[in-house]
């Protein structure tokens, strides 16, 4: 079979797997995601026609919900792949599958990241200005230029590895370790670098004392190590129920244990930040005051979220730290949801908005996302989840539902 025929066969075959042979829940899920995407299409059309004035971002708070989500998802993308390390160290049996699902999640997350950046741009039509060769990249000084490079590279690497693994399994051939292993090993420092570079994007701006802290990048990595695995743990449990995917309880508990260390470290770093700000009590404290309370006697709209995030983080830390609760299915899953929500708030809301409030001249603009913004964001998540769902469906079909392929596992 020629490569072209093989490829076209792969494409049509996977397309069939993606859309056929699901149960009602599966189609309902797809329908829901499609609905999300369609409504977001209208919302984005509105934004495109009138400009970003349809969001609630303004000059004082010039980045908002979109960039918050972007930052969160960079973390998800990074951590999904970092799971390879413990999988290898502890020799979890289905290591190839763990790696594959991690990479698929990374791909979906990066796609969402790029979409969030695109919808946040004032002139998305000019994206070609960023393309090396024909555009005008501001290297080496602009962190955002580096970020766009590492994110796209990371996407390409993960997409390559994941599709190559699935492609080989589809055709029942053995994947070439000389291709996969170096790429997987490369993707590990890349995972660290995408989140580090993204942290540096904020970290490097002296104009925003809230971000201008050396432990921002470590905090990013630590919190990402919580949110990415939280998603995967839930996914693994679902897959274990609905497919032939097997993962031992010990592996899941091990991930939960590692997450508790990551969360503990994350809380420690956050505590260090809080100590520095509150004890030194400089003018820079205003941003934390806005985060947790409010300014000029007015309650901050984000304070309830900030407290929820902190409480979720502490509770889930203990849930995962105590062996009894991390081995209990119910408390473990509650912990996963809490961790996910905690980090989502921390990155999506508590990182960006207080950085801009008050603004550089001390003026307070209380930003909360507009309905249009929420709708567009829902659509981006819709695209990401749809992509992830389809990719997982295809992978599961190939790896577990076709006996001849599974034999090659």
């Amino acid at each position: 079979m020629s490569f072209i025929r093989k490829t076209s066969d792969f494409v049509t075959g996977t397309a069939r797997m993606a859309f056929l042979g699901g149960n009602k829940v599966y189609y309902a899920w797809l329908g829901l995601l499609l609905l999300c995407i369609v409504q977001a299409g209208f919302a984005f059309a509105n934004q495109f026609q009138h400009g970003l004035i349809s969001t609630n971002m303004r000059d004082s708070v010039s980045w908002g919900f979109y960039i918050g989500n972007f930052t969160f998802l960079v973390g998800v993308a990074a951590a999904a792949v970092l799971l390879v390390i413990p999988a290898y160290i502890y020799d979890w049996k289905p290591i190839k599958e763990v790696v594959l699902f991690g990479e698929l999640l990374a791909v979906a997350a990066i796609v969402m990241c790029l979409l969030f950046v695109l919808v946040d741009m004032g002139r998305p039509d000019r994206f070609w200005h960023l393309i090396p060769g024909i555009g005008h990249m501001n290297l080496p000084s602009a962190i955002m230029a580096w970020d766009s490079i590492v994110l796209n590279l990371y996407l390409v690497i993960n997409l390559t590895v994941a599709s190559y693994l699935v492609y080989c399994a589809y055709h029942g051939i053995h994947y070439d370790k000389r291709i996969v292993v170096p790429l997987v090993i490369l993707s590990i420092p890349m995972a660290v670098s995408i989140h580090t570079v993204t942290a540096f994007l904020y970290n490097g701006m002296a104009s925003r004392p809230y971000w201008n802290s050396a432990i921002l990048a470590p905090r990013f990595i630590a919190s990402a190590f919580c949110s990415g695995p939280a998603l995967l743990l839930i996914l693994f449990q679902i897959l274990r129920k609905v497919s032939a995917f097997e993962i031992k309880d010990e592996a899941i508990h091990k991930v939960a244990e590692l997450m508790s260390y990551a969360m503990g470290f994350n809380l420690f770093l956050f505590g260090a930040e809080l100590f520095k700000e509150y004890y030194s009590n400089t003018h820079h404290l205003v941003h934390y005051e806005y985060l947790f309370a409010g300014l000029h006697g007015k309650a901050s709209p984000i304070a309830p979220y900030a407290w929820a995030s902190l409480i979720f983080a502490i509770v889930s830390f203990f849930l995962f730290l105590i062996p009894k609760t991390r081995r209990n299915v119910v408390t473990m899953n509650i912990g996963c949801v809490m961790i996910y929500l905690s980090v989502y708030i921390e990155k999506g809301i508590a990182l960006i908005i207080p950085g801009f409030t008050p603004d550089q001249l001390g003026q307070v603009y209380e930003y909360v996302p507009s309905l249009n913004e929420l709708r567009v964001a829902a659509g981006v998540f819709g695209v990401g989840f749809l992509l992830f769902t389809l990719m997982v469906k295809v992978s599961v079909s190939i790896l577990f539902d076709r006996p001849q392929a599974a034999a090659h596992g």
């Binding site: 010039s62 004032g122 002139r123 960023l130 990249m137 994007l201 904020y202 002296a206 104009s207």
Partner: protein, 312 residues
């Protein structure tokens, strides 16, 4: 260009000039995106030229001329009067500097609106390049107590002082450093400029500016035709587009021709000073050498060429 305000494009005959290979490459790669995003104007050569326009610094002399002519035509048609667009180069041996006397400014905001008119800032949605902060004399420069929205019968209000803030034209500008596409840069005469046609609207510069000096066109900027200042500069006060960043250019359209910026001219108390830092006889040098100077957020090492001072 997808501004709807620009809709009445009479599709001017383009200069007979084929697209270069580079343009063709870009075109090939992004025809789809471009066509979709220019909302069906892909057949319109002007819109296409605009979409494919190179970075300002990459334009050859002839290309720049064509770009300026295209813009003059477009703006003139849009506003129903002749609008000139020049690209005056920096003057040799000139490094601009600005000084503002904090002990004299009374916070009357004449500069704010003088600037709006001179520099064609959008009236609705409202854009102001200058923010005038009111602070307590007792507290000194404390931005956390600053109020930009004061509304008194008369100024100065008792016990208050005023600090107008706009682009500080830093020698070490953080906004320039972070721009991913080099759409903003520092010119030889020290003015930090923006190529509105290259800006992608990512707003990283707004985040990076410690002075809150940069403004984003959240909606489509709007200037009544009779209020448009028709003497414009490419890197300055020409009409802007939706989705790009703008800011004070020290009235590049005036200062590069030897005139004072508009804010200097309209200030009723003479608190605003402008000149050539390289000229030892200039008032700006006199002030720096003889007065107590205050640099806003000096600790950030942005090295502003905007010097607050205390004349009294």
């Amino acid at each position: 260009m997808i501004d709807h305000a620009a809709a009445p494009l009479a599709i001017p005959e383009p200069p007979a000039k084929g697209h270069t290979r580079r343009e063709a490459l870009i075109l090939g790669l992004f025809a789809l995106a471009g066509a979709a995003l220019t909302t069906g104007c892909a057949s319109d050569k002007t819109a296409l030229d605009e979409y494919l326009q190179k970075h300002f610094k990459d334009l050859s002399g002839d290309e720049l001329k064509a770009v300026l002519a295209r813009m003059e035509k477009k703006y003139s048609e849009q506003y129903g009067k002749h609008v000139s667009v020049s690209a005056t180069p920096p003057l040799e041996g000139v490094l601009f500097g600005y000084a503002l006397d904090l002990s004299r400014c009374i916070g009357c905001r004449r500069c704010v609106y003088g600037c709006v008119e001179e520099n064609n800032q959008s009236r609705d949605p409202q854009t102001h390049w200058i923010t005038v902060l009111e602070m307590d004399k007792e507290g000194g420069v404390n931005l956390q107590d600053a109020n930009a929205y004061y509304d008194h019968e008369t100024v100065p209000a008792p016990g208050k002082f005023y600090m107008p803030v706009a682009c500080q034209h830093c020698e070490n500008p953080p906004c320039v450093k972070v721009c991913p596409v080099q759409a903003t840069w520092k010119e030889k005469d020290g003015i930090v400029v923006i190529d509105y046609n290259w800006c992608i609207g990512c707003r990283n510069c707004i985040a990076a500016c410690p002075y809150g000096a940069r403004r984003f066109n959240w909606g489509t900027p709007n200037i009544p035709a009779d209020e448009l200042n028709p003497v414009t500069e490419y890197l300055g006060n020409r009409p802007r587009q939706r989705g790009v960043v703008e800011k004070c250019s020290w009235c590049i359209q005036r200062t590069r021709k030897g005139l004072y910026p508009k804010c200097v001219e309209v200030c009723p108390v003479g608190a605003r000073k402008f000149g050539n830092l390289l000229d030892p006889d200039s008032e700006i040098r006199y002030i720096i050498e003889n007065k107590r100077v205050y640099i806003l957020k000096e600790e950030l090492n942005t090295q502003p060429k905007f010097f607050y001072y205390y004349g009294l």
